[in-house]
Structures are given as structure tokens and as C-alpha cells.
């Protein structure tokens, strides 16, 4: 299944590894901040309700 990358295996695999890691990290950081801010806003809005 794994393609034959020959002498360029490290070059190709490190490119994919770094890129996928950065894309996943960006998505996770964005999702975590979105959740944190949404909860914090809900708390502030709940405090303001009579």
C-alpha cells in the first residue's frame, strides 16, 4: 500500500508530517478558543438576566 519513495522518503514524509501537524493544531486551537469564549459569553449573559 505504501508507495515506493526511495531516497526521498524522509523528504516527502517530513513534509506531510509537518503540514498535517500544523493544520490539525490550527483547527484544535481554533475550536478550543471558540468553545471557551462561547461558554464565557453565556455566563456573562446569564448574570445579566433578571
Amino acid at each position: 500500500m505504501m508507495p515506493e519513495l526511495g531516497k526521498y522518503a524522509a523528504t516527502v514524509l517530513s513534509s506531510y508530517g509537518i503540514s498535517i501537524l500544523l493544520l490539525v493544531a490550527l483547527a484544535v486551537v481554533s475550536l478550543r478558543r471558540a468553545t471557551r469564549v462561547r461558554r464565557a459569553l453565556e455566563e456573562v449573559e446569564a448574570r445579566r438576566r433578571p
Partner: protein, 243 residues
């Protein structure tokens, strides 16, 4: 017929983007998985570049998004400066870290690809240099938003920075056409079919580009929602403090 400016209303923007976001996310993940699996596992080696040609599925889409993210930020900044819509300023702010990460991916994969092909990780070629400067503009833009406390002042200053940085976004895109020096090749994608990469690489590359663009759109929608909520939270807390 509804106007595009309706989405300048933060509430309307959040409601609409919440409906659209799951679809864009699913489509983006599907395109990324299909494109990268197709490119990595089911395309042949290039007769000159060997297996390193597989890096094209990361390098070209990330570079394309990195440059066009700046143009999206420029458009949003101009809308802010002209019409003072907060959503556009917050969308520009939301896009910057995504564009910066895309620039890092393009620079890193370019350096890794360049080492075996050119015999060097880096060269002060016009395209590479303007791309590095674009990355520094991204960092400056993010830092400026963080450094200025007043939101409107930060939006004004970052909009001006964005207009100045657009010179380097244009240079990153077009340097190869008018600067006949440097190692970087011409465009991989062109309106002229004869200049394009071979079909066997071209179609998975198009799917990857669609995946990266949709990924950018999904993250910008999510992060803009977050910026809108954070702005509302700061306003409510300021009102609380004033009693």
C-alpha cells in the same frame, strides 16, 4: 432580494455562519482526505523530481491560500475603513493566524523540497524572499491587533498595515513573471493548459486546492464567530464594571 450588507450585522452573521459551517467543514475534510490520499498513494513519480513531486499537494495549495488570505484581509480591511462594519474588521483579524500557518507550511515544504532539487534549503530568490516578508507582515499584523487595547483603533491600524503588506502578497504571486532570476519555477497552475503540470498530477492537485480553500473558509467562519462573541463579552463586562 436581501443585500450582502445584511451580514455586516454580527447577529445575522453568526446565525448564517453557524448554519453553513458544518457543511463547509465536512466538504473541506472530504476534499483534503481524497486529494491527499490520491496524490500520495495513487500518483506516479515525476521523471525529473522523483517522489518529491508528492509535496506539490501541500506546497501549492498552502502557498495559494497564504497569498489569497492576505487579499481577503485587504478586502475586509477596506470595507472596515470605508463602511466601518465591525464584522469585516473581525473577519480580517480571524483570517490572519490561518494565513500565517499556511505561509509556514508553504515555506517549510518549499525548503524541504528545495534541498534535494536545488541543493539548498533556502535562496534569496525574489519569490521566496517576498513570501518570507509576507510571513513577517502576518506576524506584525497579529501582534498589532494584540498590542492595541481599543478595538476600533486596532482595526484602523491593522487595516493600514494590511494595505502596505499587500505589496508583498502581489510580489509573492507575480514575482516569477517580471523578475527573471531566482530558482523558483513559474506557476504550477495556469489558464494556458500547456503550462500546467501533467493531468496525472493536476486533478488531485485541484482537489487538494479545493480542500485547503474550504478549510480556510471554515476556520475563518469559526474564528470570526469567536471574535464577535469575544467583542460582545468585552462590551457586556465593561457595562457591568460601570454598574
Amino acid at each position: 432580494m436581501s443585500s450582502l450588507w445584511e451580514y455586516a450585522n454580527p447577529k445575522k452573521f453568526v446565525e448564517t455562519s453557524q448554519r453553513v459551517l458544518p457543511w463547509v467543514t465536512v466538504l473541506s475534510v472530504a476534499c483534503l482526505v481524497v486529494g491527499l490520499v490520491w496524490g500520495f498513494f495513487f500518483t506516479p513519480e515525476d521523471y525529473r523530481q522523483g517522489a518529491t513531486v508528492k509535496i506539490i499537494y501541500l506546497h501549492v495549495p498552502s502557498a495559494l491560500v497564504a497569498i489569497n488570505a492576505w487579499f481577503m484581509m485587504l478586502l475586509a480591511s477596506l470595507i472596515w475603513l470605508i463602511r466601518r462594519h465591525h464584522v469585516s474588521a473581525l473577519a480580517a483579524r480571524a483570517a490572519a493566524p490561518v494565513g500565517a500557518v499556511m505561509t509556514v507550511i508553504a515555506l517549510a515544504t518549499g525548503a524541504i523540497w528545495g534541498q534535494p532539487m536545488w541543493g539548498t534549503w533556502w535562496v534569496w530568490d525574489p519569490r521566496l524572499t517576498s513570501f518570507l516578508i509576507l510571513f513577517l507582515f502576518y506576524l506584525g499584523y497579529i501582534a498589532l491587533w494584540a498590542a492595541v487595547e481599543d478595538g476600533d483603533t486596532a482595526a484602523d491600524l491593522t487595516s493600514i498595515l494590511c494595505i502596505v503588506g499587500s505589496v508583498f502578497a502581489v510580489l509573492s504571486r507575480y514575482a516569477v513573471f517580471f523578475w527573471n532570476q531566482g530558482l523558483h519555477q513559474g506557476a504550477s497552475l495556469s489558464m494556458d493548459a500547456e503550462e500546467n503540470v501533467a493531468d496525472v498530477f493536476y486533478y488531485p492537485l485541484l482537489v487538494c486546492i479545493a480542500g485547503f480553500v474550504l478549510f480556510f473558509v471554515a476556520l475563518v467562519l469559526l474564528r470570526t464567530q469567536t471574535e464577535i462573541r469575544a467583542r460582545r463579552m468585552r462590551a457586556l463586562m465593561a457595562r457591568e464594571r460601570m454598574g
